[in-house]
Amino acid sequence: MFRKCDITGFEVDKRGEALIKVNAVFAVVFFLVAIIAAFFLVLTRHPTIHLLPPHLYYRFLTLHGWNALLFWIIFFEIAGLYFGSTVVLNSRFSSPPLGWLAFFLMLGGALLINYTILQGKADVLFTSYPPLKAHWLYYLGVLLFAIGALLGVILFFANLVVAKREGKWQRSLPLFTFGLLTAAIIAIVTLVSGAIIFIPTFLWSLGIIDKVDPENYRIIFWGVGHPAQQINLAAMISVWYLISYLSVGGITPSEKISRLAFLLYILFINLASAHHLLVDPAVSPAWKVFNTSYAMYLAVLGSMIHAYAIPASVELAQRKRGYRGLFTWLAKAPWGNPAFSAMFISLVGFGFIGGVTGVMIGKEQTNIIHHNTLAVPGHFKGTVVIGTTLAFMGITYYLIPLIFRRKIVFYSLAKVQPWLFGLGIAMLAISMLALGYLGVPRRHYDILFSNAPFKHEFNPAMWFFWALFVIGGISAVLGAILWIFIVVLSVFFGPKLKGPEDMQIPIVPPPQEEKRNPSHSSILSPGTLTLIFIFFVWFMTYFFLNWKWLSATWYVK
């Protein structure tokens, strides 16, 4: 049942490994679907290019949303959850048959959703706000996918219980698995909310019940839509810790504080589902302010702790190797390791673009100047894409040799890939944020209003950002295609990995002893402290700028 990994020394349950592989492979398949749709969307959304006609634009947007935001990421996360609860703990998979059931439910649901969308029976976009109605097969697909994923997450908990009973872990989980536990708890919230809201919606589509209240739908739907992205957040941060450990032997500065940060996520991050209801009728400003701020921004505190702890883990390890200057540790970091560069671009991009804009869009009042503008997808390009997707791309470079036991083909191209994808998405996200600030709506086919009864002219500065949008979008698509190309070729046709000597991507053990005299300063990571200070200045600048922009609008109360 077990094989002993000759590189890491882990005991790997082969039945669990098969499930990890199949979930990861289908994650990539759905990612490909999402990227193909993304290519058409970039070239349609530009006001003068319009590659697709309107109905196909909205159809592809629905397709892109589901495949990119849910299928790709949830399949990958299920693979990750299985990995973290079996391989990392040297433990067995609790129930492989249920694992396969979960997989086939998810696959069936995903195929059904994609089928109804492509048939044109579900042009309702990702959110499917009632009274906008899709074919009942679509809602059935959503339910199947959610139940499958829920089963997968429950198996993660079962694996933990089995491992504990069999003595594979005593009191505390490794930090990586603890982060995945956070993701799993958020996933339970997400998927249970999904069941609560999509069961009545499904019955409504069949005509069995005659109304779904749109406001109640919005509340519970965003308990699915937003926490689904918080699963990504927790999983991404776990992967950052993992890559830091594998690529430089990263030393977590304080287990206690990092775990506390995850606790803040578990308790408060799901409240931020309110971000989507800040300019809604029917819910009061009191509910909005409390929930949107994750109970006084305590979940943001969690993020800011990780934003410190992860670069600090790199810095601490590097300093022990004798890199002393303020930024020598960073300059001498393994930039040629695609996992490391992916992790670092992901970290910086997430913090500076996704995180900061997320806090400002999610403020009750400044949401007025952002809600449903292009700034919103701009923000989550900065979180889910440059953050989660790029982090997952990075860790895949370790999974290919360790789990699939293949060498990475075109390894030199793999070193370029995170930069191409990361910088492309950064450009795309920034241009969308700027366009949103100029008032350009999201999910809109024609902002020139060519056939509309009235015209509206946006600030002509938008043309610069539209150009940036296309350039960034296309380079991101190329970066994604390159990654898929490398991964598929390696996994299916790459040379078999014979042993540790075939590892192209290095696993660096943590430094044992300090090379020179240990530092006597009480500041252990001055480089990270400097970086985080730069981040803080940017954060506060953006904070006050937003209030300035808001105060220039009409009065409203």
Partner: protein, 206 residues
């Protein structure tokens, strides 16, 4: 050490001074941002509304028609142009795929907007000031607005509402003292013109 079990007494280890400093700075800024939002409700001029009502979409449509009837001054591209008195209640109806009516408002006067939808959800996006609110069928979103600058404003729909979503655009005109809506809208078709134009289709008419 993220992949290995933590040291036995990890909860007893003292965090480094720099990490602790950062945690306190971060915590302080979190509380600051939270209380700022509450403070903006007291001192700020842009806040979301405390008031909304349930309303039947058909009934809201009737209220809209009655309101338009009362204050209509003409039509532009088939959409009624309405000039309600300042400091009054006004109605804005969203439907697939238009906003009705075109409101003519006076600068620096408060108006209580009642915004709702006849069919699907829509997005009220006022440009170029870029203020955005959700419009939900069955709910009257009550928002008190005070336009601070005269000009021609567009209402774009920024919530997907079907295949004609991108055709859905309306107007709000804000006039300063002594200005007329024609300054921004061009010629407005009044009832009289309406008849005259219809007459044109009749070859025997004058």
């Amino acid at each position: 050490m993220a992949l290995l079990p933590p040291p036995e007494n990890w909860d007893k280890e003292k965090p480094s001074k720099d990490e602790k400093t950062w945690v306190y700075i971060a915590l302080f800024s979190c509380f600051f941002m939270f209380f700022w939002m509450i403070g903006w409700h007291i001192f700020g001029k842009q806040n979301t509304s405390f008031v909304s009502y349930k309303v039947n979409p058909m009934e809201f449509f009737q209220l809209h028609s009655s309101f338009v009837e009362k204050y209509k001054i003409g039509e532009k591209n088939g959409v009624p142009v309405v000039k309600p008195p300042p400091e009054s209640d006004v109605i804005l109806l969203a439907r697939m795929w238009s906003w009705s009516p075109i409101l003519v408002l006076e600068k620096d006067k408060w108006y209580t907007f009642h915004i709702s939808s006849l069919d699907l959800q829509h997005g009220f996006s006022l440009q170029p000031v870029n203020m955005n609110f959700q419009v939900v069928p069955g709910y009257d979103h009550v928002l008190k607005f005070k336009p601070t600058k005269e000009g021609e404003y567009s209402i774009i729909c920024n919530e997907f509402c079907g295949i004609g979503h991108h055709l859905m655009i309306g107007k709000i005109i804000v006039i300063a003292d002594g200005e007329t809506p024609e300054k921004y809208l061009g010629e407005i078709k009044t009832e009289k013109n309406d008849f005259a134009e219809k007459g044109d289709f009749n070859p025997s008419g004058k």
